[in-house]
Symmetry: C2
Subunit: 238 residues, 2 copies
Amino acid sequence: MKTNFIHTYVSVDCVVFGFDDDQLNILLVQRDVDKTGVKDLKLPGSLIYNEEDVDDAANRVLFELTGIKKMTLRQFRCFASPDRASDPDDMKWLDKAYQPNINRLITVAYLSLCKVDRKLNNISKYKQTEWCPIDRLPQMPFDHNQIVKKSLTEIRAWIERNPAVVFELLPHKFTISQLHKLYEAIYNKNIDIRNFHKKVATMSYVQPLDEKQKDVSHRAARYFKFDKKSYNRLKTSM
Amino acid sequence: MKTNFIHTYVSVDCVVFGFDDDQLNILLVQRDVDKTGVKDLKLPGSLIYNEEDVDDAANRVLFELTGIKKMTLRQFRCFASPDRASDPDDMKWLDKAYQPNINRLITVAYLSLCKVDRKLNNISKYKQTEWCPIDRLPQMPFDHNQIVKKSLTEIRAWIERNPAVVFELLPHKFTISQLHKLYEAIYNKNIDIRNFHKKVATMSYVQPLDEKQKDVSHRAARYFKFDKKSYNRLKTSM
DNA sequence: TCAAAAGTGTTCGATATACACCCATGC
DNA sequence: GCATGGGTGTATATCGAACACTTTTGA
């Protein structure tokens, strides 16, 4: 019997999106090797445990990263190129962070969404976490840049299938303007604000509150909320 | 250093769709254990090799199955539940087919498409392959039934992103009626034939041939072909 | 009174849906 | 001539895109 079947470690890596009223950001962590002055950022991730499903592993990584128990997440691809972990620096880091002689590493990539103003309970092993604008990402280890690139097309497909997820990126109370800017950032194009108002008006699950902005030097905008129940009612009736 | 990280084999499993002018079918293979009279069908798949990417492994499985070098395929999900390979029969089979003591197995699932009338060059290790209608699937080992279920929603998403792939399920020459039935099977609903004709007429890449059906006991239908060049021109101009 | 962002309606074209009859062929 | 499936057109509804001005507020 051949024994040249792969026998390997498997990891999960998470691309966590956040939105800061201006652009999309991704949450990166600092790799805990000794510093040489250069920043050394990567996607948060972990090898998975023996009795752990990949979804559970992704949830664990996100919990360690943010302190949030059940974050919305979505698996989007397995990356398994034989040479994805062949850079000497990356291999050295694997030796140190996990164990020696990990010659190959398969990873399962996840998308997740997080409010950027959320206090991140950095329970974790990570020295430092950092929101990084998607158009100014550093060079990252392994194939993390490629994973992020792929995640950008996936997030759109996700939102089209499930429009509720965008609200994970906004505060509980938000203005139409915030939602508008978020859509513009995700689709990377201008969206006519008048048509956008109409579109939102047809979403029964985006509901106006009585509350308005305060202390703004212009007309105060109304706050809206996302109503999960209305959304579910709508979706189950289809 | 903890050593309770998973260190495991990884497989690929392929859900190959075919269309027989009536319904969608999936290509299953017979598991080569000694028979007890009961059919024992599963998704075609394989452990992956040391120096092999998962996409390459899926291509290899499909080649061994059909004799076709580069089939259209699409990765859609990693299945990694810790107990997906815990059924005693399944474990016994793994022992025999691969090697002993595979206590856990992670699989990466792929979609692929194949013309059912294609001569399958069964190059392979498989005793027997069988097209099986999707609404009459047998009980399969591991979580293969779950994988197939998930694949049904994925195939729709795939076609919406890339309408060219449906033609992989039809002969090179096909009638509008065949295409119509195929769409009805994929979406599992009736589609008005007059509106369907109009829709097809807007697809510049579906082109009429001079040829018509022969020896049919009704008005002969015109054959059409899918023109890849027109399709690519259209897609790159968008 | 000015600056800055909020909020609002109409028109047009494209696309999707609903719906019914005549045509060609083999038997 | 009849059964079988092939092929066609029109009317309506819906959706998305284009487009500009008035309102509110604080400074």
